[in-house]
Symmetry: C2
Subunit: 551 residues, 2 copies
């Protein structure tokens, strides 16, 4: 098993350090790669799961069945029921597996988990349709984000965990010269897992945001309970089933990795999180609950919470290309990405384009036109926007207004040729005053874009950095042709722990974070401390303990 996956693991470790392009799982859902029938089969398998009990888990007799997923495209229930286990059962099951799992060597744990990712790969299309009909992501994003990109992020966590646990020797002979003699000790070390782990998923990226923490905790020897968002269970249930399958096949207890769904009449997250046996918690979601999780005593917590992402527009060479790029970024999955830009800082004096100063209003109208152009393009609009996951988000977008602000573009209906009931609308754009920080310092989830007219680029930088420092940010885009301004943005945003994409145009967007190259979330601001995948993300999951004895 170790030999089978060693080359993949070694390549992944190397990629982590080279940070050049690397992908173990192809992102293109092409029949040439995945097989001629893969897509059709995946669609059929997903369709066949609807209205059924999900029976793939190997966690023993259920205490009940629960499920409340609904398709944002069809606005009807998926009617899939998952086995329910009380928190006490889940914890007891996990504790039973701890001695077994922690004694499996890191190299074998890494190999078994990589094997499970191969199982996940065989089900990328099922997962894609499951993701579409729970999150509202469009087909292509559903496939890529929930399938290959998530699997690569999982592999990244496995690789980082494997590397860190094998970075110090298992044993050595320590010989201290004392002049006429020497003292010799035989020393050994163990990377000791912290205990039980809990991963709390979100409704918009049920695998992509769950698998890094899940595989990081597992590879470091911690039995792991996955608590998905009740509205997005199926994609990760399939992944858990694949992990359990591999564990079982190798004579290990499948409860090393359990799915723990909420009951239909009550949520179980707090009860799980507060259980003293739970030592590690990964959380993705809103800041309020995230702060509760962070406040729990005696836990090591990794969070990805909300943030406000900024775009700083100072100067550029081609404003049309900039507008098109940014229109795509705000529209992609209807602004429901944690990396989606929200606040667009534009100087009142306008933007220098080549040798010309383009007036502020013209810049704003160009952005607005680009957003409208994309949303109304029948070949692109629906495929980029997808659907809005949560009806409450849709409602908020419809009701939104800003005291003293100006509506630049009202949201409107976008037709989806396949799904007539899709919960979709085009982005709305508002201009808010730079002095009204309270209006733009919170994340406004969904297809919402705010234009903030600043005195100059200095004010833009100051506000973007302040927002990131105080309220968190996961991405930042900047457009400037001035090297001094660029260095200033890098320095100030770096102090706010926010990565910056400069001058993106064409087919690459500020929203996208590439596995093995872009650290996702830095840990340097209130948006969270989980960084996919830097060493901290894995080493906090275990403890180095040494033993010594005269040699």
């Amino acid at each position: 098993m170790i030999a089978k996956h060693q080359a993949t693991l070694d390549a992944a470790v190397q990629a982590l350090h080279g940070r050049t392009f690397f992908a173990a799982f192809p992102e293109n859902p092409s029949p040439d790669i995945y097989g001629a029938d893969a897509d059709a089969q995946g669609r059929e398998k997903f369709a066949a799961m609807r209205g059924q009990h999900f029976a793939e888990l190997q966690q023993g007799e259920p205490e009940g069945w629960a499920g409340q997923e609904e398709s944002p495209y069809e606005q009807v229930s998926l009617d899939i029921k998952y086995p329910f286990y009380s928190p006490a059962t889940l914890v007891a099951n996990a504790q039973e597996t701890f001695a077994e799992w922690r004694k499996v060597k890191p190299a074998l744990r890494a190999a078994l988990l990589t094997e499970a990712l191969e199982g996940m790969k065989s089900r990328f299309f099922e997962i894609a349709y499951a993701t579409m009909h729970t999150t509202g992501q469009a087909y292509m994003m559903s496939f890529q984000a929930s399938g290959p990109h998530a699997a690569d992020r999982a592999l990244e966590a496995i690789a980082a965990g494997y590397e860190e646990q094998t970075r110090f020797p298992e044993e050595t002979r320590w010989e201290k010269p004392m002049g006429k003699y020497s003292i010799s000790l035989h020393k050994t070390w163990r990377a000791v897992p912290k205990g039980l782990a809990l991963v709390i998923g979100c409704s918009t990226f049920p695998t992509w945001n769950t698998v890094p923490g899940m595989f990081a905790s597992l590879v470091t020897g911690n039995p792991t309970i996955i608590k998905p968002h009740p509205k997005a269970v199926l994609p990760i249930a399939i992944v858990v089933a694949e992990v359990q399958k591999v564990l079982k096949e190798h004579g290990l207890n499948p409860n090393i990795c359990q799915l723990g769904v909420d009951a239909d009449d009550h949520l179980i997250t707090k009860e799980l999180a507060e259980d003293p046996a739970i030592k590690l918690i990964d959380y993705t979601g809103g800041s309020q609950f995230g702060e509760y999780v962070e406040s729990l005593k005696g836990k090591t917590v990794f969070t990805e919470k909300t943030g406000v992402n900024s775009i700083i527009i100072d100067s550029c060479n081609d404003l049309d290309k900039v507008a098109q790029n940014l229109a795509f970024s705000v529209s992609l999955y209807s602004g429901q990405m944690c990396t989606a830009p929200q606040n667009f800082f534009i100087p009142a004096t306008g933007v220098k384009v080549g040798d010309t100063q383009v007036p502020y209003e013209e810049v704003v109208q160009k952005l607005s036109a680009a957003v409208t152009g994309l949303a109304t393009n029948p070949k692109a609009g629906a495929h980029v926007l997808g659907a809005i996951q949560n009806p409450a988000t849709h409602e908020r977008v419809k009701q939104l207004s800003f005291d003293g602000g100006r509506s630049i573009l009202a949201h409107s209906t976008v037709d989806n040729a396949t799904f007539k009931n899709a919960r979709t609308c085009s982005p709305s754009i508002f201009e808010v005053d730079a002095s009204r920080v309270e209006q733009y310092s919170q994340e406004l989830f969904g297809p919402i874009m705010l234009v903030i007219k600043t005195k100059d680029t200095q004010e833009s930088i100051r506000l973007a950095a302040q927002l990131a420092r105080e309220h968190g940010a996961i991405s930042c885009g900047a457009y400037t042709t001035d090297t001094a301004i660029k260095e200033q943005i890098m320095d100030e945003m770096s102090l706010a722990g926010t990565p910056v994409s400069f001058n993106l145009t064409g087919g690459i967007y500020v929203n996208q974070n590439a596995g093995f190259s872009d650290f996702h979330v830095t840990g340097g601001n209130p948006a969270g401390n989980a960084s996919f995948t830097n060493p901290e993300f894995v080493i906090k999951r275990f403890t180095w303990v040494g033993f010594r004895e005269p040699a």
Copy 2:
């Protein structure tokens, strides 16, 4: 500068991973190594500092002078005054240096700090006498712990910080194949320091426990304020002066590393710790204040607090050698080491020695006799015990009694030939009942040894592991000739995050932790989370932030 120290740094990084014996600074205060006059000169320099103002710091005009050190050997004031600066001044000074220090590349920061350790080396003997007459450590320990061992721990932190900051590339070209074309990005990364750092020292190991956090914060680009314990300032003041000298010589602001002493009439630690600009805190000392520091919001905190260290005696080959080894461990620096053993778990059924079962009472009496033998040995007693740092500790030892317990050995006066007024006494030994956990679950600082009579070794292991998990532990010693018992102890103590030394006899003791080989404090139990030096100890001091732009 980088070239000058690169070989040392590379060797240190290699040693960290090999974990074999390594020392850049010789621990033997021999004239052959340090020069014929080094000791005498150090003693004279220390003597000359007494009654004076410490004028070596380069922090600008003092706002006052403060100092309250007293020799535990002479029980008289050292009458040395240090420049006082208010917390606001210290923070403002540090903030002024941040832009400068964070822009120095990690390799140069590491080289400059290694250069400062060379300066420290030239003053090892001064530091030794300063340590003796503030902490009460005996001469040899003062020299080794405050000099070469501390410098090696500092180098270890520099090396770890240097390695972590250079573990990912500064820049790379990321090229994603898209079929007919590819997307190319130029990516760069910065290891961004967290901000200002504070290191809070303790009274017993003023350099050894301060320099790891100090050099870890500095090498990762954080301006650092050292707040020593008011009773043990001089040893670390000399180190800070040496760092400032190197900074100044290289055109950098000496306030990158400041000494911030308490005023004589008020302590400044809380005011410093609570300042929002302070982002990193290293703390060594009691658990109560440690928990206060850990509770502060918005800080990354590293602590070494109190713990209760256990010795498990199950079986051995030579009980006399075991008793001698343990008597030395409890006597060394009068039990004022964080690694000193306190609780000795001995089965009521006795201890298997070779093929013989030695009765419990005989084991206890052998330990007691060994402690008395060492304390009353005129050639060893005073040199091993040193003096008690704090009069309150001495008082507590004198008053100690345990409800329902049994006094096995009363403390007694130990003559010191050189210092007639030395605050020294021999260890006292009590037997307490295994069921009275509250009597032995707290750290009893000073020369105190508790014998806990257990049902059997299983109970010994259970209690030792429970104490470590619930109350913290930094060391554990175990004596067993049974491989199954040994594996059980390793497994259970590893889950309690406690390193174990097995079967130590002769000239190596459970108290000793070697730089570059033994992680000091694991982070796996309540005794603290600062581990000298694992990767976590340095990577939490900076944030990886990435930048990208079309290539």
